[in-house]
């Protein structure tokens, strides 16, 4: 009995191990195109933190180039009129300089487009409310957002697979062997790679304080603004408290705050609940991620709803009109009360965070032009 069983199983084993009938090999339509991606090393300056790059999406020159094309290509939107760059323009440090952005068919959202620069350092989640965990995840959203690109991914994938250039670019970037393998996952990986290269660290501030360039001088006014911004000890000037939420070198923060711009009777009354919408906690209502203050000269209007046209308005707000709420950040609970000239000093300091190389760099520009 036992030996019968043994023979039977042996037979099964032999049988099942037989190689399948030879089939004509399925050849992907892209296999003749060489796949030899070139690793891309981000040059991060002294004084910047290391950047988290997902292990499954290393930067390559081919991936970045593909991402740049996709970023600028309206092919992603329903009626092929809107690209990422419609709302994220290079000349605006990748904002659109509108309070709220226009999507397809003139539709509008409720928030202001955010600048895309140094975003590889954001770990608290992307968007004003931090609802998206990664640049890859974030890039999935606009395509299907009903007031942005209003498309569906199946359509986008279909268009890209049939395109005359994209299949080869996907092959070179990700080694796919068939155009049928073009997927939304690869689209957003490429876009995220491109976004991680959108770095800015060549401002006057950087030159003076990060690279200690002896030829760069701050004016007295800029220096006064600097002292107030960072609450310099021993300075006779008021503490403007800015650095608590906009710390160097990134000048943003991986956390969410109520910075007192909204007058509300209760925490339920914020017109945009911001972070509270995501966490479901009342105490998070009206909190937003503190964005970077780099390149403000290019990114007006300001705040999540673009309510302030000018930096003068922003500084007036922080100095004289901070609204109380239970969750107002305590750093702003004490009136700052800057004089008019001190306000100007602070603005002059903020302008030292300008790095026009970001808006001029050819590598970040529209590849179709």
């Amino acid at each position: 009995m036992k030996s019968k069983l043994l023979f039977f199983s042996l037979f099964l084993l032999v049988f099942s191990c037989r190689p399948p009938e030879p089939q004509p090999p399925v050849k992907g339509d892209l296999e003749d195109i060489p796949y030899a991606p070139t690793a891309y090393h981000l040059q991060l300056p002294e004084g910047f933190p290391p950047m988290d790059i997902p292990a499954d999406n290393p930067l390559t020159e081919e991936g970045i180039d593909l991402g740049r094309h996709l970023f600028y290509d309206p092919i992603l939107s329903l009626d092929s009129t809107v690209s990422c760059s419609t709302c994220h323009l290079q000349e605006g440090a990748f904002t659109d300089n509108k309070a709220v952005s226009d999507g397809v068919m003139g539709l509008q959202g409720t928030r202001s487009a955010m600048a895309i620069m140094n975003l590889g350092f954001v770990t608290a989640g992307l968007f004003w409310d931090g609802r998206s965990p990664s640049l890859e995840d974030q890039a999935l959203q606009p395509v299907t957002n009903p007031v942005e690109m209003r498309n569906d991914w199946a359509t986008v994938e279909q268009r890209l697979r049939r395109h005359s250039d994209y299949p080869a670019m996907f092959r070179k970037a990700f080694g796919i062997s068939d155009s049928g393998e073009i997927s939304k996952e690869l689209v957003v990986k490429a876009i995220a790679q491109f976004e991680r290269t959108l770095l800015t660290f060549n401002s006057k501030f950087d030159k003076k304080f990060l690279y200690n360039d002896p030829t760069v001088e701050f004016t007295d006014s800029e220096y006064r603004g600097f002292e107030m911004f960072f609450d310099f000890p021993g300075s006779a000037l008021p503490d403007a408290q800015c650095f608590h939420c906009h710390n160097a070198p990134l000048f943003g923060n991986n956390d969410f705050f109520n910075n007192g711009i909204e007058e509300v009777a209760t925490l339920d009354d914020f017109p945009d609940l911001g972070r509270g919408e995501i966490t479901g906690k009342t105490f998070d209502n009206g909190k937003f991620r503190a964005p970077t203050l780099r390149n403000l000269v290019f990114t007006a209007p300001y705040m999540h709803d673009g309510r302030f046209e000018t930096l003068e308005e922003v500084i007036d707000q922080y100095s004289d009109h901070v609204h109380f709420a239970d969750n107002l950040d305590e750093n702003l609970s004490f009136p700052i009360n800057l004089s008019e000239s001190q306000k100007q000093d602070l603005i002059n300091f903020l302008y030292t965070l300008t790095d026009s190389s970001l808006v001029l760099d050819e590598r970040f520009s529209n590849p179709f032009e």
């Binding site: 910047f48 770990t123 750093n331």
Partner: protein, 250 residues
């Protein structure tokens, strides 16, 4: 045959025990924040003194150079730096659970004490947030104070109701304590046995109200709402002195 199986058993034993060399266990530090002896719940109003009510929106601090001391006096290092954060403990059950730090792979045996520092020790305080990858306790940009060239060792924030109308808009408490001078450390006597593959919990507590003690009462937080400038460390020192004094086994 017998011999063979004997050797096999010996080999298996050796293999097994090499996975679990001296017999390792896990130590959990369970920190609880209290207010007058009860679990501190964020955003919950408390009486501060005869005239003021307060609620807290944040309480967090660095802990450092944490060591366990074995019964024979030999120290066992747990970590050089970590971060204890009560900011999200906005209900009683979270506050009762407290904040935990776990340290696996520690030698089993008898222990008699735990050493702990509050704040960032001098060597590490020479570094800055941007030196660290995200996720590292010292990578917190909100806890690095450029102008002080120091980390903020402990951060306490809250709001005050002084006129009894139930609205906490009469002032704020903002105790940011930093710089090498306010680093504090302590050894706590605590006898426990860590079993092989076992877990030992060390219950720790600090009472936030006690951190504000001054004389027979509490720091006048209307007059001294913030410890914000390095030129005047008086209240930061006071706070940190109180904190380390109150810090103990729960």
């Amino acid at each position: 045959m017998k011999k063979k199986s004997f050797f096999f058993a010996l080999f298996a034993l050796a293999a097994l025990s090499s996975c679990n060399k001296e017999g390792k266990g896990t130590v959990v530090l369970n920190f609880k924040a209290l207010y007058d002896g009860s679990p501190l719940v964020m955003m919950e109003p408390y009486a501060y003194n005869d005239t003021l009510d307060v609620f807290f929106s944040g309480f967090n601090f660095y802990v450092s150079n944490i060591r366990l001391i074995k019964e024979d006096g030999e120290p066992v290092e747990l970590t050089d730096i970590d971060f204890v954060d009560f900011d999200d403990m906005d209900n009683l059950s979270l506050a009762q659970q407290g904040f935990t730090l776990s340290f696996p792979d520690l030698p089993s045996g008898k222990y008699k004490a735990v050493q702990i520092g509050i704040g960032v020790p001098m060597m590490l305080n020479e570094t800055r947030a941007s030196d660290y990858p995200s996720g590292h306790p010292l990578a917190k940009d909100s806890h690095y104070w450029d102008a002080w060239e120091s980390y903020i060792f402990s951060m306490t924030s809250g709001k005050i109701d002084a006129n009894g109308d139930g609205v906490f808009d009469d002032g704020a408490v903002l105790y940011h304590c930093g710089s090498d001078e306010v680093y504090r450390s302590k050894e706590l006597t605590y006898a426990f046995t860590l079993d092989k593959k076992g877990t030992a919990v060390i219950p720790l507590k600090v009472d936030l109200h006690h951190c504000f003690k001054e004389g027979d009462g509490y720091i006048d937080v209307i007059a001294h709402p913030a410890t914000h400038t390095i030129d005047n460390l008086t209240w930061a020192m006071k706070f940190m002195d109180n904190m380390i004094q109150d810090f103990g086994i729960d």
